[in-house]
């Protein structure tokens, strides 16, 4: 039996060094809501577990350059309870508010959700749509990575050995912008997205959409950024025709599988339905802000 080591480094660099210096499997523990389940099931047998909640920069939410930076160990509940953040990025909050239960949200983090690399992660499409940038620390120093480039496939990320996410940066919001995340699940809570759509759009003074990002979850091996879906909105007033085009583009981009959570046909259709509904919600937020 391999004995598991537990460390609580005080800096991100120290955490990276511990990760890099471990021969066997080393795992970062922030919320632990996925890691603990994998450990219990025997899917993951780490030699080292690093609790990063004691690293100051990983546990703070702060305004930076007019945008927001929040640490990788910040729990979903901490985000939800930060009123200013929640008002600025309601779509990100939509996602954070759907992770597990209250109990799970009290521990689970956006970074953990991202690095667990489930295609169905609820916070990821909203973060991608918001244009979030992950700050990664590793043996070669720090680098900034768009969130959509972190997941590689189910359970896999593009992070190198010794690398971990320190924080996320959400850029300053353009005026008249709105974002939203919607997912479909059979139950109202305590469920995994069968399809998830994160969408962010910006309007000009004449209500014409000038920018948009659309991300789909649970319809491919990882969350997708779908420029074709965004293109269906840009330059329009997000009217019926644009919404129909958006839905078609989202469905076209979906390449799901049949599994215990839903069928391929169902997911393809739902990608379009939810994209449309997310756009309507984001539009209302953009206008109402």
């Amino acid at each position: 039996m391999i004995e598991m080591r537990f460390e609580q480094p005080k800096t991100a660099e120290a955490a990276s060094a511990l990760l890099a210096g471990t021969q066997g499997l080393a795992k970062v523990l922030s919320g632990g809501t996925d890691l603990m389940v994998h450990m219990r099931n025997g899917n993951v047998k780490p030699e080292l577990v690093l609790d990063v909640k004691g690293i100051a920069e990983m546990n703070t939410i702060a305004v930076e350059d007019g945008g927001y930076r929040f640490g990788a160990a910040v729990s979903c509940m901490q985000l939800l309870e930060n009123k200013a953040f929640a008002e600025t990025w309601p779509g990100v909050i939509d996602g954070a508010n759907l992770v597990g239960s209250i109990q799970v949200r009290g521990r689970a983090t956006v970074a953990g959700n991202l690095c667990n690399a489930s295609p169905a992660a609820d916070t990821v499409p909203a973060m991608i749509a918001a244009g979030a940038i992950a700050r990664v620390v590793g043996p070669k120093g720090r680098r900034e990575v768009p969130v959509e480039e972190i997941p590689a496939g189910p359970g896999k990320t593009t992070l190198e050995k010794g690398e971990l996410i320190v924080s996320f940066f959400l850029p300053k919001r353009a005026p008249r912008s709105g974002d939203a995340y919607l997912r479909f699940t059979p139950r109202t809570e305590m469920d995994i997205a069968v399809v998830g759509v994160g969408l962010c759009l910006t309007l000009d003074a004449n209500d014409v959409c000038t920018a948009a990002r659309v991300s789909l979850g649970a319809v491919a091996e990882r969350a997708l950024l779908v420029p074709e879906a965004a293109a269906a909105l840009i330059g329009t007033k997000v009217d019926e025709a644009a919404l129909a085009n958006l839905a078609a583009a989202a469905s076209a981009a979906a390449r799901p599988i049949d599994d215990k959570r839903g069928t391929k046909v169902f997911r393809i259709k739902l990608a379009g339905v939810l994209a449309r509904r997310a756009a309507e919600k984001a539009l209302s937020r953009a206008k109402g802000n």
Binding site: M1, P186, R187, T188, M190, I192, K260, R261, F266, K269
Partner: protein
């Protein structure tokens, strides 16, 4: 909400009130001890190795490396258990075959489903036991498997047993199959019946196996002594049955095994059988240490009973005026890896609510590579009712009749025929229908994408063996003990009936559940039998103790016992001629117990008969999202004839709980297998039981048509409520969307596919 339809004007002091239960404070403070909460000095932890394959021959099991791991005290395989003969014993519906049961406890020749127990390890820590499991080498020859019931019945299906010849077919088939049994019930002439019908509808249905979903995993602690005496702390629905099965499976004398009733964290039928108890006892016997086993949630889903999945075809014919003239039902049920689905119940209950002159029901019990099915709340009845009540809804629409009124027109009452023979002997069904017809919401219009569905259900309710004892304490307070596990407040209802009978306050009765050495045999807490049957034992014990109290009073007064009456908790002189005595309270009589003959004690036992069935009629309103197939339950109203509510809040709770289990069954719960025959959703994340935010308040209407065969009119309330919901929801979805769903669960992909099929 209580609807007194036929309630005579009894005035009760205790019965019909809803006091706090005796086990309440321990349960809200965390003190109550459930199966996993017991421990003993020197205790070992046991873990069970389970088959990763759906169907495999076990060529060999090598436990040497596991046994060599430091901290491991014993490894157990089926070789440690006695061989038991192949024989179906006991009543047909629940015939037990110990040859099968011992193979479900630990596999022998074959692993018959993923999760089938293969071996067990007892070690000083749970972690070491888990590590040791990985060191057990099992040589499997993987065999083709079959999961679905229709596929399992196919002549070319892989066989679980190479020698299983279907019972109930004459002449007996020459070839073995996966069909364990065929059964049939019939009255009248169904061909003539259908010929006389104005409308006939025939539909086929499938239902998924669903798990009882109790929140407490199976757990127990066993201590086997060098003297052969064994104690077992087990969470079950019947510690006497745990004792019987465990003793039989291990070749022990019943007298050497004492089973203590741990608090039970839900059962719903699933804890009427044993899984871990014989393993823990055998390991304790082997090691000389106490042994504790706690299943994981994954184990619970993979290796303990769901109820059967099914494939069914139901045909019903009606006259234009709504009179049902003929019905035919074919019910094919999965027993799991061993015979024993509740298909007989299904075939008996299917058309039970209706007066139908010509009926045939045929059932098949079929094995496949799934965990052995176990009882689940009104076992069998909800499955066949889904089919029957769906077909009735189609017919009601065809003839343009309100579905409740059509049911009322055909509703059975005392004297109506049954497909299994004897006539119904109780009313109560029509009253549940009428309660809904009178409901202010029933005729309210609904909005877009909304629909209202109705359905009914029948359950026999149970009687049987129970015992109760009463001790009058030195201060006149009362100790009441029964041997019936309390799954939902029965200690309170027993105390209420005792208080009522004795004429004393509820608070002076201490109500307990005694271990198997301290009270006579009690059958399981199942079949909605406890309030009725154990309640009868309690009332009889009270009557016995009243006789004793009268005697003691007569001794104190030095008069003949016939001169003493018992009234409102006091012994009183029968009339003035007896003498001018102050009434004697329990306290006063207890104070003189020594000089009047010693402790005041009695025990009563019954094999209770005269139980009355339960009927439930329900309506629900749903809204269907036409773009996603999501079904939202807007309103749910459930009427049930409870006979009499002893503790009305617990009766309501039974109805609400049963309905919500039914909603889960209707919408989302199912066993999902991958191509290798492995369960893909063995956890509460993907086996989706309803959560609080999925539901509206469930309105429970208790109809009281008292059972004349019980002193307080009890009928039993636990099960009939789960029979109608699946059809009620299906009928509501149909009325919202125009689409008839015939397969459970009616999950969003299925509903959407039906809508999109145009």
């Amino acid at each position: 909400m209580l609807t007194n339809t036929k309630n005579t004007e009894h005035v009760f002091k205790s019965v019909g009130t809803s006091p706090v239960r005796p086990d309440g404070v321990p349960k809200v403070t965390g003190i109550a001890q459930y199966g996993a909460d017991y421990s003993l000095p020197g205790m070992l932890w046991a873990k069970i190795l389970r088959s990763p394959h759906a169907h495999a021959r076990i060529r060999s099991i090598n436990t040497a490396k596991a046994e060599a791991l430091p901290g491991v005290k014993a490894v157990l395989t089926s070789a440690d258990l006695p061989a038991l003969p192949f024989d179906y014993v006991g009543p047909e519906r629940v015939a037990v075959n110990y040859w099968h049961m011992t193979r479900n406890i630990l596999a022998r020749e074959k692993a018959l489903y993923e999760g089938h127990a293969i071996a067990a390890v007892a070690a000083t820590t749970a972690a070491i036991a888990a590590e040791a499991l990985t060191l057990i080498e099992v040589d499997y020859e993987i065999l083709p498997h079959v999961i679905d019931v229709d596929e399992a019945m196919h002549p070319d299906a892989p066989l679980l047993y190479e020698d299983m010849i279907t019972r109930g077919i004459e002449p007996a088939p020459s070839k073995p199959s996966n069909i364990s049994k065929r059964l049939e019930f019939k009255i009248g002439d169904i061909d003539a019946g259908f010929a006389s019908a104005d409308e006939v509808v025939e539909l086929s249905f499938k239902t998924a196996p669903v798990h009882q979903g109790y929140i407490e995993p199976h757990s127990c602690l066993a201590r086997y002594g060098a003297d052969g005496q064994c104690e077992l702390w087990s969470s079950s629905q019947g510690h006497f049955v745990v004792r019987a099965y465990t003793a039989k499976l291990l070749g022990m004398e019943i007298g050497n095994l004492v089973v203590h009733p741990a608090e039970i964290g839900g059962g719903f039928g699933g804890k009427t059988v044993v899984y871990v108890e014989p393993v823990a006892v055998a390991l304790s016997r082997k090691t000389g240490h106490p042994v504790k086993i706690m299943m994981s949630r994954e184990d619970v889903f993979k290796a303990t009973g769901p109820t059967s999945g099914s494939s069914m075809t139901v045909k019903v014919g009606v006259k234009k005026d709504g009179t049902i003239v003929a019905a035919d039902g074919l019910f094919k049920f999965q027993g799991g890896a061993f015979p024993g689905s509740p298909v007989m119940n299904a075939a008996m209950c299917a058309f039970a609510p209706y007066i139908i002159p010509n009926v045939r029901t045929v059932g098949f019990d079929v094995v496949s590579n799934r965990p052995k099915s176990a009882a689940y709340r009104a076992p069998g009845s909800p499955i066949s009712a889904f089919a029957v009540e769906s077909v009735l809804d189609v017919l009601a629409q065809k003839i343009g009749m309100d579905p409740l009124k059509m049911r009322l027109k055909n509703a059975v009452k005392a004297g109506s025929p049954t497909v299994w023979g004897p006539k119904h002997s109780h009313d109560g069904y029509a009253e549940t229908i009428q309660a809904l017809l009178d409901h202010p919401e029933y005729n309210k219009p609904l909005g877009k994408n909304q629909g209202r569905g109705v359905a009914s259900g029948f359950w026999f309710n149970g009687g049987g063996e129970s015992a109760a004892s009463i001790h009058i304490n030195e201060d006149g307070t009362v100790v009441l003990a029964t041997g019936s596990m309390d799954v939902g407040g029965s200690r309170a209802s027993m105390a209420l009936m005792a208080a009522e009978t004795l004429g004393v306050p509820y608070a002076s009765v201490r109500s307990t559940v005694a271990d198997t050495a301290s009270i006579g045999y009690n059958h399981v807490t199942g079949g909605s039998r406890v309030t009725f049957a154990t309640g009868l034992a309690v009332v009889e014990a009270c009557n016995n103790i009243i006789e004793e109290l009268r005697l003691r009073a007569s001794i104190m007064w030095d008069v003949d016992v016939t001169g003493v009456v018992w009234e409102d908790g006091y012994a009183k002189p029968a009339d003035i001629s007896v003498g001018d005595f102050e009434p004697l309270s329990l306290k006063a009589i207890a104070a003189k117990r020594a000089v009047t003959g010693g402790p005041i004690v009695t025990e009563a036992a019954v094999n209770a008969g005269g139980q009355a069935p339960g009927f439930s009629t329900q309506f629900c309103d749903v809204e269907v999202d036409p773009e996603t197939g999501a079904v939202k339950i807007l309103r749910f109203v459930a009427a049930q004839d409870v006979g009499r509510a002893i503790h009305p809040k617990y009766c309501e709770g039974q109805i609400q709980g049963g309905v919500v289990q039914g909603i889960g069954w209707a919408l989302n719960e199912e066993y999902i297998y991958d191509k290798q025959g492995r369960l893909a959703n063995a956890g509460f994340l993907d086996y989706r039981i309803p959560v609080a935010s999925d539901l509206p308040m469930i309105e429970a209407i208790m109809v009281e048509v008292p059972n004349p065969n019980h002193p307080f009119g009890v009928k039993g309330v636990g099960e009939a409520n789960i029979v109608p919901p699946m059809a009620a929801v299906a009928n509501a979805i149909q009325r919202a969307t125009g689409k008839r769903l015939t397969e459970l669960p009616m999950s969003p992909p299925r509903v959407l596919a039906a809508i999109d099929a145009g």
